[in-house]
Symmetry: C2
Subunit: 286 residues, 2 copies
């Protein structure tokens, strides 16, 4: 593999590169398996990855997709020219897959592929079921950056997302409630997102929480999840066009708990899937 | 539920508490389901949780365990008086389950339960297959603390582990290579652990990496994974006796890649399981 500025020159030293968490390695014919990939669609849950892969297969008339590689840490499907994969919850888990997916596709010779995260999130001042396509990611300190500890020191990376891609995706929304907004990503679901219903005494109260959420709203945050800053920073560093398409399951200005019925939650989650499926359809016809 | 200093007084305000990621809630008879629990054994991978639950069931002559609750985000089993659960990879993912498990067991009226993480890790100066029982967790800056961003500000928590429990667990090791040591937990598998084989140009070289790993070794670090500081801090705050029992799959002073065969990896992973199973046997006979 020829390395570009967006690739790691150290990889040239490896005889075989074991993509440990995918259960794939460079002794396999990765070009035959993944050389034509144009887009990776990822989300936290293996169930949702499977559901999305099934919908995409139905859309393009492909067979029911089967998982490829090791299924212990993620589910990975290939449907036409699209990879669908689960990345677990949180930035540390997702980063493992971002690294291994980029290596996989570069070894396979795939070109100009995009990364899209299709996820669930808590809304901030928007109706549950609204899809937020992010133009920028903020961290838990409401800063537009991803902080990473490397060899004991902190490095900070920018977290802008590809505005052209976000607008293209948003334009396929049809009747689905969707908008551009900033997405905050935190390292904790309970105290990291200002919830009062964790297991431990949080050391703050309802008024403190609301002040924080309102501050987030005023900075343009419309939803909160656990992956956005690392995703945006990785895509920028990697020279990959990336998009964050998250549906909101509740409005955090109204409460902390996810109390919707299973049926409602499925409908909400379908909203994000549908927008991306429509976008992919415009691309795959090219 | 009566709240103690280790519980969250805000929970008294909830009519029903939805433990969203477990798929369980307080409208169920949690006391009948979990009231007798004495120990929670957790690990990253659902496959390993299933394998451990099966081994424990065989050990105590119980039926093959079936998952309880929602299986989308984790697998949760109950085997005798032990809960076995997968928590995904990384501190953000694990913290979700720590919060929901503690709430679950407190609502169920379980008393004096312990938390044990049985995981896989990279060793530092120890032979692959060695089990490290941690006496303290360090973060990626080699500090004995867990830093958490809450409402935009950083809070730091201590990360000592219960030395009595660690020694009790270690004493059951028999022929298995096992020792006490410090466990470092990072927020990234590739650059966060000084690997040179990520997808991106890491901006450091082999000499920089070795200097960092040797510094870690000199501070007592014998293995590196992605959960230790948050686990230790949570247990301390929650008043729960906690133990970290991680097997090493490679020696990071020798390289970055996990190149062992599937068979070797299974044997290594069995080492950690066996020590905990032996420990549980001494407890369950009481």
């Amino acid at each position: 593999m020829q390395t570009t500025e967006f690739q790691n020159p150290n990889l040239a030293d490896l005889d075989v590169d074991f993509l440990y968490h995918l259960g794939l390695d460079t002794s396999m014919d990765l070009e035959a398996m993944f050389g034509d990939v144009e887009c990776v669609c990822m989300g936290g849950s293996p169930d949702r990855a499977k559901a999305f892969a099934d919908k995409l297969a139905a859309e393009i008339g492909a067979e029911e997709p089967k998982p490829i590689g090791k299924t212990e840490r993620c589910l990975l499907f290939k449907v036409g020219r699209v990879v669908v994969i689960s990345h677990g919850m949180g930035m540390p888990s997702m980063l493992i897959f971002l690294h291994e997916l980029k290596k996989l596709l570069d070894y396979a010779g795939a070109k100009n592929y995009k990364f899209m995260r299709i996820g669930t999130s808590g809304g901030v001042g928007v109706e549950p079921g609204t899809v937020i396509v992010a133009d920028e990611a903020l961290n838990g300190k409401l800063e537009p950056q991803y902080d990473q500890v490397v060899l004991g020191n902190t490095r900070s990376w920018e977290t802008k997302l590809d505005s052209g891609l976000s607008e293209e995706i948003l334009s396929t929304r049809g009747d689905i409630r969707a908008q551009i907004g900033k997405t905050m990503g935190t390292d904790d679901f309970y105290e990291g997102q200002g919830r009062l219903d964790g297991a431990l005494n949080p050391g703050y109260n309802e008024a403190d929480k609301m002040a924080y959420l309102k501050q987030a709203y005023d900075k343009g945050v419309r939803n909160i999840e656990m992956e956005a800053p690392a995703f945006a920073a990785f895509c920028l560093r990697a020279g990959i066009r990336g998009a964050l398409v998250n549906v909101t399951l509740l409005d955090r200005l109204q409460g902390d708990q996810v109390t919707s019925t299973k049926e409602q939650l499925r409908q909400y989650s379908d909203n994000a899937d549908e927008i991306v499926l429509k976008y992919l359809k415009t691309q795959l016809q090219k």
